[in-house]
């Protein structure tokens, strides 16, 4: 079995190369060619990593062959393997969608380089094993996301982008301050070494506080979520889908890494419960705002805030459950599954919304009545994806909610049980509010001229929604590796590996 570890840097360098090529060869056909090649490469790599994950998760790919504390290592754990696969699959869908979405947009040549760079940033973040490197990756994602949000040039989009930029920068600076404190107190930045060196030192808790507050700002949890609806709302459809489904998850993944893997001893127990509380508040507040808001994309954005709240319930459950917090076990599987289900469902919703806006020219809910007649496919997508969000049985969302619920019940946390159920109910409230509007006959003939053609975009969104439902069935295969704790084997530093020639593998 070839050692997939050597494929790891592919994840990062292939998108950067693609970005450069797209910048240099501007016109359409070449961009399509580059994108297709790169996407297929990424898919192959991530599948190999997923298959071979048993021994990959033990090793670190040392860049520039300097041992980790000094150099930077790339490594993948059981969670990131799934996330990497998810990212490559989803980005493939988004790129295909973007081809159609930006077909007649003059700014298209400028879109692709930034888009590819954003993908590179995401992979860099998932693969990196070094605290400061994570900061750079965060910045990469942040800045390119801002550029994409501001892509369609309207004043609202620009203001939303500016606000998003401020939030991003402040969040990253907080994170940098945390890293600086860590470096000062422990002298190393490597994720594998930090947990071993760390002793009971208040500075570590302080660092954790800074890092967490920075990342919470970037994950848009309840009190600090004000920027997300505007940013995701006014971005073009594929970008908002990417933001909701992946970008926001990256900062959540980081919080999970710091709280569960890197600095578990120093995280005060109250901290876990506080995160849980934040999660619960954001579920309720997000759903309530989603129900109240008028524009379709804002509604979907607020539902992202709500679903992120579900993810944060992982922390109290993890602490309560096994006492030994780690990036595996049934609680973590539940939240990983929720990430998967939410990613597919949310992207389907945003792509469907994109299609609706493409046809109607606006996404103002009050004027969208009778949607089902003009764009039946996107309403159907909306229904299926909504079902997965609410957690109705056949969907992936149901499995995730089921796992979360059984965890909550096992750990006797009745408050969480109520929050989960209430969240599901409120989700159904705003999803069915939209469906009601879709089904109602248009009172007065809305003055917009509606192009009735069922564009390919709607079918793309439908495929994604079906994936969200399909997740409900073969949960077994995805969850098995997550459940089992990784077999801890001493870390052979690659340096000492005999001649693992990167290119040798191909020759």
């Amino acid at each position: 079995m070839i050692n997939a570890l050597s494929f790891l840097p592919f994840l990062i360098f292939v998108p950067i190369i693609a970005s450069l090529l797209c910048f240099w060869f501007k016109h359409n056909r070449s961009v399509i060619l580059i994108s297709v090649v790169c996407h297929s490469l990424l898919l192959v790599v991530s599948v190999c990593i997923f298959i071979d994950q048993a021994n990959i998760t033990q090793q670190v790919y040392v860049l520039a062959s300097w041992a980790p504390p000094l150099g930077i290592g790339l490594s993948v754990n059981s969670a990131t393997v799934v996330l990497v696969l998810l990212t490559s699959v989803l980005t493939f869908f988004y790129s295909v969608y973007s081809f159609i979405y930006f077909k007649d947009n003059p700014k298209q040549p400028l879109f692709w380089p930034i888009w590819w760079f954003l993908i590179a940033g995401i992979f860099a973040l998932f693969a990196s094993n070094d605290a400061f490197n994570v900061y750079v990756a965060l910045e990469m994602i942040g800045l390119s996301a801002v550029a994409l949000v501001a892509f369609d040039g309207s004043i609202n989009a620009l203001k939303a982008a500016l606000r998003y930029l401020f939030v991003g920068l402040v969040g990253s600076l907080f994170y940098l301050m945390g890293v600086a404190i860590l470096y000062r107190t422990y002298g190393t930045l490597d994720f594998n070494q930090l947990p071993t060196l760390v002793d009971a030192n208040p500075a570590a808790t302080l660092a954790l506080l800074f890092i967490t507050s920075g990342l919470i700002l970037k994950t848009a949890i309840a009190p600090l979520h004000f920027w997300l609806p505007d940013a995701h709302g006014s971005a073009p459809a594929p970008v908002s889908a990417m933001l909701s489904a992946l970008v926001v998850k990256c900062s959540f993944y980081l919080i999970a890494v710091y709280w569960l893997q890197v600095l578990p001893e120093h995280a005060p127990k109250a901290g876990y419960y506080f995160l849980g509380l934040l999660g619960a508040v954001s579920i309720l507040w997000g759903s309530w705002r989603a129900f109240k808001v008028e524009r379709l994309k804002h509604l979907i954005a607020y539902s992202t805030v709500a679903q992120l709240g579900y993810l944060f319930l992982l922390f109290p459950l993890a602490v309560q459950h096994t006492e030994t917090t780690a990036l595996y076990g049934s609680t973590f599987t539940a939240s990983m599954y929720l990430i998967l289900a939410h990613a597919f469902a949310k992207s389907a919703l945003f792509l469907a919304a994109g299609d609706i806006i493409h046809q109607y020219g606006h996404d103002n809910l009050s004027k969208l009545s009778g949607l089902v007649k003009t764009s039946a496919v996107s309403t159907f997508t909306f229904a299926i994806a909504g079902a997965s969000l609410i957690g109705l049985p056949p969907s992936g969302g149901f499995i995730a909610k089921w796992l979360l619920l059984s965890e909550a019940i096992e750990t006797q946390m009745w408050l969480l049980v109520c929050v989960i159920l209430l969240g599901g109910l409120m989700a159904s409230a705003y999803i069915f509010k939209v469906l009601n509007i879709a089904f109602s006959t248009p009172s007065q003939h809305a003055n917009h001229q509606v192009t009735h053609k069922q564009s390919a975009m709607a079918w793309m969104a439908l495929v994604l929604a079906c994936c969200a439902i399909a997740l409900g069935f073969n949960a077994q295969s995805i969850m098995a590796p997550l459940m089992a704790p990784p077999v801890v084997v001493d870390l052979p530093s690659v340096h000492s590996m005999p001649s693992v020639h990167f290119m040798g593998v191909f020759v």
Partner: protein, 1107 residues
């Protein structure tokens, strides 16, 4: 995956594939879409058929698909799931046919049928679910698929309905999910096991299980429309008719009930649930819902809203059945699952087609619907009657078993709930039938624009008819192997690990001939509705011939019992029933002949219909030996004779008909209650009939016999009915009450003072008072009616004496007793006290003789009314002579059968000293009545003579048809006692001189009194029916009181909600706006009816049988 495991999947696949494919069918081509749907339905039904006989032959079907580490999707076909799956499969087929017809021209049908198929897919999934988790998944799927159906029309109120529906079902779903997950974490795998999974998991603490049970039942309760969670059902009526038909009859509501059944039996195990005290709570909740649903239905004017509320109450029967932890009650509950489905779907079909064809949406607009859409209305009526629980239909079977089960489980209050809800059902269904059938149709209905012969599109007509016949079949052939009842038996027996076997006895010998007496009139009845009805009218008398032949040639004791019909009905010719059969055969023959001459041809068809139906009821009544058979024929006869009474369609006829109908219903319910009480006690093997059951029987049959306080309908009905009908009414149908008492009262077995006093008291009062009232009447037939009341009073007084026997001195004169009062084994255990037996042995023949005498003479008298005896008419003299015969015989003049019958009665009750005086007084009274009758007869004939042209040829021909039966009966009236005495082998005591003298003295006294009354009394005019006036006043006041009550309840409601609204404000509280229930002008008899029976219910409660 071998065959066993793929079949359930195939079934699920067939429905889902049909659904999904229909989505892609383009809107225009209707053919492809309906073909696809029908194809889907057929292949699904075939698969279910294969599954059915697979299970029947003992194969077990189970498929297991792993979903999560230790959670897997399980489908398995046990008896309960088969019951539900066949129900939903069949009704899906019918509803899709109906839907194709209903939505013919509405838009986006592909979407409708797509979701329709998916909804049934979810229901099938629920039915086949093997464990609680699969059930949960399909339960939620059902919500998702039914939402677009409810919101199909897209207008504002269907969107609101969808919203409300969602709010409830989503809330319920969340609770259910919480409960299931919690149970899963506690109890591990939740596969359905026959006697419950949790029973043997001892380590779980009960309080947790109770909380989980409450959660799960709340979740299921939303769909099963238990009380607090039922709000969505009436609102969801905004959906199109096929949706509300399938949803509220089969899919959604049944899923909830089915869920409750599954959870109580297969998850908790019924004994374990009972031990936790859960079933009692569920029973109380279900009962409250039942009563509440019916009360709310009472006040709804919109048809579909009324149906919705009735669904709310009916579904809780199933929950009630499961909650009463007893095998029979379970059987009742489960069989009601099926029965309620077919009945409710018929109601919705009909409601839908009414709305579709005539735009009739409100109950108040349903006048004359019967005429405009007869077939749909009949289906509606059958289903409605079934809902009420009228004996032969499906509803009765399940209510009967529920009642029986409740009594076995000592939950007597459930019996009360059942009765009140059945009455409430009657209260809100009967006004509809009454308005539809008997009120004139408004003229503003669209003319029958369709050229086809049928009243609506055939697709709207066929499904309700099929389901209506299903209702009848499920009721009639309840015991047959393939009926839902036997299947429910299989299920409940599995639950209680005992097998109640009901074998199928086959009739032996030529017992089948007995059925001939019933079948021939039925055949005539069928022909009546075809084009040959003119012949039917002319050959009407032939219908009565088989009965006469049977009575003459079959020897007594032949009996034929068919297990399938009713609950094992049994017809047999006992000694008494043979006599009565002969008597009624002769009378029906005579009256039929008479009516061919009397009834005008254009109204003949309707007359023959009712005439034949009553005849069947009468003959069946005479011969039936088992309770359900007797009650069924008794009901048939009473309802059919209503048609006879109101034949002339005059306002007086309808008024009389209305009173008759109320009294019939009162009698019906009393008989029903009495018989249940009788049966219950009998099952407790204490032969002593509880007094309340006995009095119920007496009152019930008393209504038919015209006992004093219940007699008010008789003097009203007879004058109004056509002559042959009134002759039959007073001659034979009045005797039905007597037959009932003879069959069911334990005459000769026990002696109970209260019963004796009740019977004799009422009898005596009716003897004297009716004589007084009769004399003051203006109408000849009314006088005859009063004389019938007095004679029947006499007979019943003598019957009453049998209960006094132990208190009398007894002389052991042995008279051969071959009276076989043995009822079928289940009914009566004979505990003979020698004295009572002997006394009864003498009294019975006397009573029978007197009954025969009375019916023949009374018939003759009534027929005479139809024959104008006028001077210059050719038949004047012979008619006059013949008329004297019955008059004299009735008055008991010497050598007439009347005198002999009275003599027999006197000898039989020689030891009852105080009886001789009333006997003689009664003969005076009868004589008075006869004189009054003759006087009135001649007065009417003379002034009628001036107007009628009696001497045309046609008239003469008709006169002949009338004259012959009249003549026959007059002669028979004299000879009847002699003939019957040989049959009853009683020796006629010789006529002593002094009896002759007393006779003549009585006559003279009567004539003197009559002259005296003429002088002083001719001014005092008494309206027919005398104390009915009092009853009417009583009813009016009661109505006023109830209306006031409703008003104040309404105010309280309004007040409560306005306060709530101010306090919470509109934004936060989505208040379900309870429209103040508009009390429409209720059907007055309906109200008296309910009032009366509330009193009866209270009496029932106070006087609990000591068991």
């Amino acid at each position: 995956m071998n065959w066993q495991s793929t079949l359930p999947l195939l079934i699920l696949l067939s429905t889902s594939v049909t659904g999904i494919l229909t989505f892609f069918v383009s809107e225009q081509n209707k053919k492809l879409r309906s073909a696809l749907n029908i194809g889907g339905v057929l292949c699904c039904l075939i698969l279910i058929g294969v599954l059915l006989n697979g299970v029947f032959h003992g194969e077990s079907f189970k498929t297991r698909i792993s979903l999560l580490p230790n959670i897997d999707l399980v489908f398995h076909a046990d008896a309960l799931s088969l019951l539900f799956i066949s129900l939903s499969g069949l009704l899906w087929g019918l509803t899709s046919i109906y839907a194709v017809g209903y939505l013919a021209d509405s838009k986006n049908q592909s979407r409708f049928f797509g979701f329709f198929g998916l909804c049934v897919f979810a229901t099938m999934g629920i039915a086949l679910a093997g464990n609680l988790i699969t059930f949960l998944i399909f339960y939620e799927l059902l919500t998702l698929t039914t939402f677009p159906l409810v919101a199909h029309k897209g207008n504002s109120d269907s969107i609101k309905a969808a919203k409300v529906y969602l709010m409830y079902t989503m809330g319920g779903g969340a609770l259910f999910l919480a409960g299931v997950v919690w149970l899963k974490t506690l109890a591990g795998s939740l596969d359905f096991v026959a006697t419950g999974v949790l029973a043997d998991l001892t380590h779980l603490d009960p309080t947790l299980l109770q909380i989980i049970f409450v959660l799960i039942i709340a979740g299921l309760g939303v769909k099963a429309a238990l009380l607090p969670l039922h709000g969505w059902l009436p609102v969801a009526m905004a959906a199109p008719a096929p949706v509300s038909a399938l949803l509220h009859a089969v899919a959604v509501v049944k899923a909830g009930a089915f869920g409750i059944v599954r959870v109580v039996y297969d998850v908790y195990g019924v004994e374990f649930a009972a031990s936790l005290g859960l079933t009692l709570g569920l029973a109380i909740a279900a009962s409250i819902t039942i009563v509440f649903g019916s009360v709310r239905a009472l006040f709804q004017d919109d048809i579909k809203k009324r149906m919705a509320y009735s669904t709310v109450s009916q579904v809780s029967y199933i929950a009630l059945g499961t909650a009463i932890a007893g095998p029979i009650a379970t059987m009742g509950g489960i069989v009601h699952l099926v029965h309620q489905g077919i009945m409710k779907i018929t109601l919705f079909f009909c409601a839908g087609s009414f709305a579709e064809t005539l735009g009739v949406k409100k109950v108040s607009q349903m006048q004359g619907l019967g005429k405009r859409m007869p077939l749909t209305m009949t289906a509606f009526t059958i289903a409605g009657l079934g809902m009420i629980g009228v004996p032969p239909l499906a509803g009765f079977i399940s209510k009967w078993h529920l009642g029986l089960g409740a009594v076995n489980a000592d939950m007597h209050w459930v019996l009360l709930v059942l009765i009140t809800s059945s009455l409430l059902n009657a209260a809100y269904f009967l006004p509809i039938f009454y308005a539809a059938w008997f009120k004139p149709a408004p003229d503003n209905w669209p003319a029958d624009k369709k050229t086809t012969r049928l009243e609506t599109h055939w697709m709207l007509l066929l499904p309700p008819l099929i389901t209506a016949t299903l209702v009848i079949l499920a009721g009639l052939f309840a015991q047959s192997v393939y009926s839902p009842l036997s299947w429910a038996q299989l299920v409940s027996s599995r639950e209680y690990t005992f097998i109640a076997n009901t074998s199928l006895e086959l009739a032996q010998g030529q017992g089948h001939l007995l059925w001939l007496a019933l079948i021939i009139p039925l055949v005539f009845l069928v022909f009546n509705f075809t084009r040959v009805n003119r012949f039917v009218f002319h050959f009407l008398p032939l219908a009565a011939l088989p009965a006469i032949m049977l009575a003459l040639f079959c020897e007594s004791g032949t009996s034929s019992s068919i297990g399938m019909v009713f609950l094992g009905s049994e017809l047999s010719l006992t000694h008494t029933s043979r006599l009565f059969l002969l008597l009624s055969g002769i009378l029906w023959f005579a009256c039929a002949l008479y009516s061919t001459g009397y009834i005008k041809t254009e109204s003949a068809k309707r007359y023959c219909g009712f005439f034949l139906a009553t005849m069947v009821g009468n003959f069946g009544l005479v011969m039936a030996q088992d309770i359900t058979g007797f009650v069924a024929f008794f009901t048939l006869m009473s309802f059919a004779s209503y048609g006879l009474i109101t034949h002339d369609k005059t306002t007086a006829a309808f008024a009389a008909g209305k009173t008759y109908f109320i009294w019939v219903l009162i009698g019906e319910v009393c008989v029903f209650a009495g018989l249940t009480g009788f049966l219950i006690n009998q099952s407790d093997s204490i032969s002593s009939l509880p007094t309340w059951a006995g009095s119920m029987l007496i009152i019930g049959f008393g209504v038919k016999c015209g006992l004093f306080f219940m007699h008010t309908w008789l003097p009203l009905a007879h004058p109004v009915a056509p002559v042959p009908a009134s002759a039959l009414l007073s001659a034979i149908m009045v005797k039905a009450g007597l037959i009932g008492m003879l069959n069911f009262l334990p005459v000769g077995q026990i002696s109970s003072l209260p019963l004796a006093y009740l019977l004799c008291g009422l009898g005596l009062m009716s003897v004297f008072l009716s004589a007084v009232f009769g004399v003051l009447q203006q109408n000849a037939k009314a006088v005859l009616a009063y004389s019938t009341i007095s004679q029947m009073g006499l007979i019943l007084t003598y019957l009453g004496t049998v209960f006094l026997v132990p208190f009398l001195t007894s002389t052991a004169t042995s008279i051969p007793t071959d009276i076989s009062t043995t009822l079928s084994a289940t009914l009566l255990t004979t505990v003979s006290t020698s004295t009572a037996q002997a006394h009864w042995a003498m009294l019975l023949p006397a009573i029978l003789a007197f009954a025969v005498h009375h019916s023949i003479t009374k018939a003759a008298l009534f027929l005479s009314v139809g024959i104008p005896i006028i001077r210059h008419n050719r038949i004047y003299y012979p008619a006059l002579l013949l008329l004297c015969l019955p008059v004299l015989s009735m008055a008991g003049v010497v050598f007439s059968s009347g005198m002999f019958a009275k003599a027999l009665l006197k000898t039989a009750t020689y030891n009852v000293s105080w009886l001789s005086l009333p006997l003689s007084l009664s003969s005076i009274g009868t004589a008075l009545l006869m004189l009054r009758f003759v006087q009135l007869k001649f007065r009417t004939d003379t002034d009628a003579n001036a107007s009628t042209d009696s001497n045309t040829a046609k008239n003469r021909f008709i006169a002949w048809r009338r004259f012959i039966p009249f003549a026959l009966l007059c002669i028979a009236s004299v000879l009847s006692v002699f003939v019957s005495s040989t049959y009853l082998n009683i020796t006629l005591s010789d006529i002593t001189i002094n009896s002759l003298l007393t006779n003549i003295g009585v006559l003279a006294l009567a004539i003197g009194l009559f002259v005296l009354i003429q002088k002083i009394g001719n001014k005092a005019v008494l309206p027919a029916g005398d104390i009915i006036v009092i009853y009417r006043a009583l009813a009016k006041s009661l109505l006023a009181v109830i209306q006031q009550g409703c008003m104040c309840i309404g105010h309280v409601y309004g007040l409560f909600f306005t306060v709530l609204r101010q306090y919470f404000g509109q934004a936060y509280m989505v208040i379900h706006t309870w429209r103040l229930a508009r009390v429409n002008t209720l059907f007055t008899p309906g109200l008296t009816f309910t009032a009366l029976l509330v009193v009866f219910a209270v009496y029932l409660l106070i006087n609990q049988p000591a068991s």
